[in-house]
């Protein structure tokens, strides 16, 4: 079984560091699109999602895994040791292949007033971060409102996100992945349809 697994980062220390800086920049500049370095992602994960998994997860980070991504379970367990949980409420990360899986969104931890950092981070596959619907973002990290173009978010995403943003400083942080690209929406950012 392990023989069939694709490797993680070709250079684990440098690979994780450079991916982390992309994710850190993405979180600090909501909606800006970043390209991750090469990684042999297991089907059905995108390169970007696989790189984020390798960079941020380990045995201390319970993960809710989209049942559709079951084929990647062995790879994630082998490379990160992250415990995979079926209970979204117990997860620190959630990895979803499509927005259908986001029906679990309301069951994820949102953090508490005194410990808002205990909320979940969602890693969501979308079809594209260069074409699709336009969203206007406003908040910390943005000098002036910015536009993010995404294909593959649910039709009511702006409303779902506004409810999340309204919980601030609680709320979920989102990392969107398409191919080898990623962009982030921290809870602090307000989103409306462009």
């Amino acid at each position: 079984m392990i023989g069939a697994l694709t490797p993680g980062f070709a250079e684990p220390v440098g690979g994780a560091q450079s991916c982390f800086r992309q994710v850190l920049d993405a979180m600090a500049r909501p909606g800006r699109v970043y390209t991750v370095g090469a990684v042999a992602a297991p089907a059905p994960l995108s390169d970007a999602a696989a790189a984020v998994v390798l960079t941020l997860m380990d045995h201390e980070t319970p993960l809710w895994l989209d049942p559709e991504a079951e084929a990647a379970r062995g790879w994630i367990a082998f490379h990160t040791g992250a415990p995979i949980t079926g209970d979204p409420a117990k997860s620190m990360f959630a990895l979803a292949l499509t927005h259908y899986a986001m029906t679990i969104w309301h069951r994820l931890p949102f953090g508490t007033d005194e410990a808002p950092q205990t909320s979940a981070t969602v890693i969501l596959h979308v079809a594209s971060l260069t074409t699709g619907r336009a969203f206007v973002l406003e908040g910390p990290g943005l000098r002036s409102p910015a536009t993010l173009t995404v294909d593959g978010l649910p039709g009511d995403f702006a409303a779902v996100w506004q409810r999340n943003h309204a919980l601030y400083p609680c709320g979920i942080d989102l990392i969107l992945c398409a191919g080898n690209q990623l962009a982030a929406l921290p809870r602090s950012v307000a989103v409306r349809e462009g």
Partner: protein
């Protein structure tokens, strides 16, 4: 470099700190607890800042380290050497050349850019600690955004001294939500934090807290309508470069009470002098 992890910390520790950093960026000004590690330098030397720097630093980074504005103090030199040895990164004293700047007690005079990160060493991350010793209680206050205690303290200052008597570590509101300690920088530097193009990260090793300010985020020094915040500085130009808008240190020049006011940011002063700016004491020196 043999026997060391890249940038000293093991990968497990870096991941833990990186996760804390992402949460800190998502909640500007909020103190995120982290599992601070023992570092081969004493606490007073900025182990929190060092752990943050170690978790973000890559082989392509260029690191600058300042202590009270100067690149050449023992503390700054030790930290720079530590990362040059454990991460093999290039180091610099020029603010413009650095991609990562670790600092104790100052923000460089030169406006930082979007492609730079500044890491502050923080001895005490809790802005309310002098007013409320209980960590449980201050955590509750941050949860409720209940900062009445700090407003009362500032108001009492005004009643007693006619002004707010805080010269360093002057409390700020970040993104109009969290009261935050800017670390013991002079109040003079506070306005630089507001809408700064660079990402600002803060590490407190002993207190095990990380916090952050994303680029282009509102950072407001606490004040009152009838007593607006003012960045105070010595009423002199720099004796060496003539700068009138830089933070100055008073230096005793001889044992006869001779004094000199010079830029605390040594790189800024050197760059200005190299560009031909000369202060009154620089002229005197040249004449002697």
């Amino acid at each position: 470099m043999k026997g060391y992890n890249f940038a000293y910390l093991d990968e497990q520790t870096k991941r833990m700190i990186r996760r804390a950093l992402l949460k800190a960026v998502a909640i500007p000004g909020h103190q995120v607890p982290f599992g601070s590690r023992e570092m081969p330098l004493p606490y007073g030397w900025g182990t929190g800042g060092i752990q943050v720097t170690a978790s973000i630093l890559g082989a392509d980074d260029v690191l600058k380290v300042i202590d009270q504005g100067a690149d050449d103090t023992t503390n700054a030199v030790s930290i720079r050497r530590f990362f040059a040895r454990t991460a093999g990164v290039r180091t610099t004293t020029a603010t413009a050349e650095a991609t990562v700047i670790q600092t104790r007690h100052r923000i460089p005079e030169k406006t930082l850019r979007e492609d730079q990160i500044i890491v502050y060493q923080v001895p005490q991350p809790e802005p309310l600690w002098r007013l409320e010793p209980s960590r449980v209680e201050t955590t509750r206050m941050h949860g409720l955004a209940d900062y009445g205690l700090m407003h009362v303290k500032l108001y009492e200052d005004i009643a007693r001294y006619g002004q707010i008597s805080i010269a360093y570590d002057y409390p700020v509101m970040v993104n109009e939500r969290y009261l935050m300690s800017p670390s013991p920088i002079p109040a003079f530097d506070n306005p630089k934090m507001d809408m700064m193009p660079a990402l600002q990260l803060f590490g407190a090793g002993r207190e095990k807290r990380i916090y952050a300010i994303p680029p282009w985020t509102r950072v407001r020094s606490l004040d009152f309508d009838d007593h607006p915040f003012r960045a105070i500085n010595a009423a002199h130009p720099c004796g060496l470069c003539g700068a009138t808008d830089a933070f100055l240190d008073e230096v005793v020049t001889d044992d006869r009470g001779g004094r000199l006011f010079v830029c605390s940011d040594t790189d800024h002063c050197a760059e200005r002098r190299a560009a031909g700016h000369v202060g009154a004491d620089g002229l005197r020196e040249a004449a002697e």
